[in-house]
């Protein structure tokens, strides 16, 4: 459908063909769509779905790392980790705002997260089992996220694109602090080398899954690319990430858990073995190692904060009565 001409798409979506054509022409010229501008309902719906999922991912992403703050091995690493986790919370705020400009409310979005209806990045349903996981998450997970977010910084929707520009700038610190840790541990003591190898072995495949299903199994890709929300496909981004990471990880003396991994001279690509999509879908559907814990932790934080919200609201109410 989304390779189809605009008339056809307008009929499918029940939109005004002239307005849709003007909208697509704006995107073609590289203009940003802003809140208040005309947009097809499907554009709005897809953006709310994507941006709110992205916001939830930032918020849930604080959990696997936050758990290590009290156990950081030095004051410097602790300061860095606190700052990183705080950044992720801030990124969630930027993104919830971008979704709000499309008419989604904060209450709806939070409700969907807390009741388990909304999705967030699958990667956070895996546990962080040793300290070097923190470095691995920074270099691999944030590195993969930056690749996706750099593309989204060029997205056709103004508020999403601007949130991404700012997030990418801050994420670079996240990636590099993680990379520094992985490099140092990979060149460290025997125990440190064992720990970092264990972490890389566990996080490699779930990180590759972060880019989403193969293009052939990605139902939303067509419309997202047609309207400039995304400009590159899941498989393109994943391949670029693999090509960047494999030589660097190997230079650190780290082994990747993939006996089929090889360099293809013809395409100049590193080719991996096949990704276990059964595992991916199992975890997406709620049966991953940490899905239940993550949801419980978010609900507990929300419930524990109720008295703060009530007290602040009561204070605001009283102040407005006094004035």
């Amino acid at each position: 459908m989304y390779g189809a001409d605009v008339e056809q798409v307008a009929i499918e979506l029940n939109e005004d063909p002239q307005k849709l054509a003007d909208f697509e022409a704006r995107i073609e010229r590289g203009e940003k769509i802003e809140p208040g501008d005309w947009m097809p309902e499907e554009y709005r719906r897809q953006l709310i779905r994507m941006i709110s999922q992205h916001a939830h991912s930032e918020v849930v992403g604080m959990l696997p790392e936050g758990t290590w703050i009290t156990r950081a091995p030095s004051l410097r690493r602790k300061l860095i980790l606190i700052a990183k986790v705080q950044d992720e919370g801030g990124h969630g705020q930027y993104l919830y705002h971008a979704a709000e400009t499309l008419g989604a409310t904060r209450e709806e979005m939070l409700d969907q997260l807390l009741t388990g209806k909304a999705k967030y990045s699958n990667i956070f349903n895996y546990p962080s089992l040793n300290w070097t996981d923190i470095g691995t998450i920074g270099w691999l997970v944030d590195g993969a996220a930056i690749m996706n977010q750099t593309m989204l910084a060029r997205s056709s929707y103004g508020p999403y694109s601007r949130a991404m520009v700012r997030i990418c700038m801050e994420e670079n610190f996240h990636k590099k602090q993680g990379q520094e840790m992985v490099i140092l541990y990979s060149q460290g003591t025997k125990k440190q080398r064992e720990m970092i190898q264990d972490a890389i072995t566990r996080w490699w495949w779930p990180t590759l899954m972060m880019f989403g299903p193969h293009d052939s199994d990605s139902p939303n890709s067509g419309v997202l690319i047609r309207w400039g929300i995304k400009t590159r496909t899941n498989d393109e981004l994943r391949q670029e990430f693999i090509n960047q990471m494999v030589p660097d990880l190997q230079a650190c003396g780290l082994e990747l858990p993939d006996p089929d991994l090889h360099y293809d001279e013809g395409s100049k690509n590193w080719i991996t073995g096949s990704i276990d999509w059964d595992e991916f879908w199992r975890v997406v559907k709620g049966d991953g190692p940490m899905n239940k814990e993550r949801l419980e932790a978010r609900n507990k934080a929300h419930d524990d904060g109720l008295w703060v919200r009530e007290a602040a609201a009561a204070y605001a109410q009283r102040q407005s009565e006094l004035n």
């Binding site: 860095i80 705002h97 490099i183 009530e310 609201a313």
Partner: protein
Amino acid sequence: MMADTQWPRFMVFQKMNGKQPWQHNGTVHAPDLEMALLNARDVFMRRPDAVGLFVVPDAAIYKVTLEQLASEAELPDSVEFSEEREILVFAKPHEQSACELLGSVKAKSALQALKKGQSEWGDSKALWWWLFPAEASLMNAEAEAESMFSAAREKSYKNSSEYHTVTMMRQLHSKGRLEED
């Protein structure tokens, strides 16, 4: 017992240094202006070297886009005040710039302020205009500025340039080990 909400939305504006105009930064949710200012500091002042911050209820802002201006019939209504007020006029001049303060005008409604703003600053290509009464906003007190903004300046470990990973990778690729410093 009150309903458990996420509170109203406030727009956040900041000034980076003496020369730059006030710019829109983002939004926060809060029960009142005072908490909105504190939340804005927590969410947005983790890095930038700002000298000022203010918040205004989102509901108090009159917003129009270039697309709406092109078809005047679609302009949203604005509240008529009983007397003239100082209205702050913000606009986003072009894609690469932030939404920034052009200045203020005296007007009896945001719509009237928009007309005055357009003739004063004449930017017919601005992507959007935001207008609101100055009195609806809350700015940080001068005396609070240092404690609000200094923390971000000192935390240099938040800069990616603090991490020499490019050099480290070069050493690993060429020598197979890190050089001692």
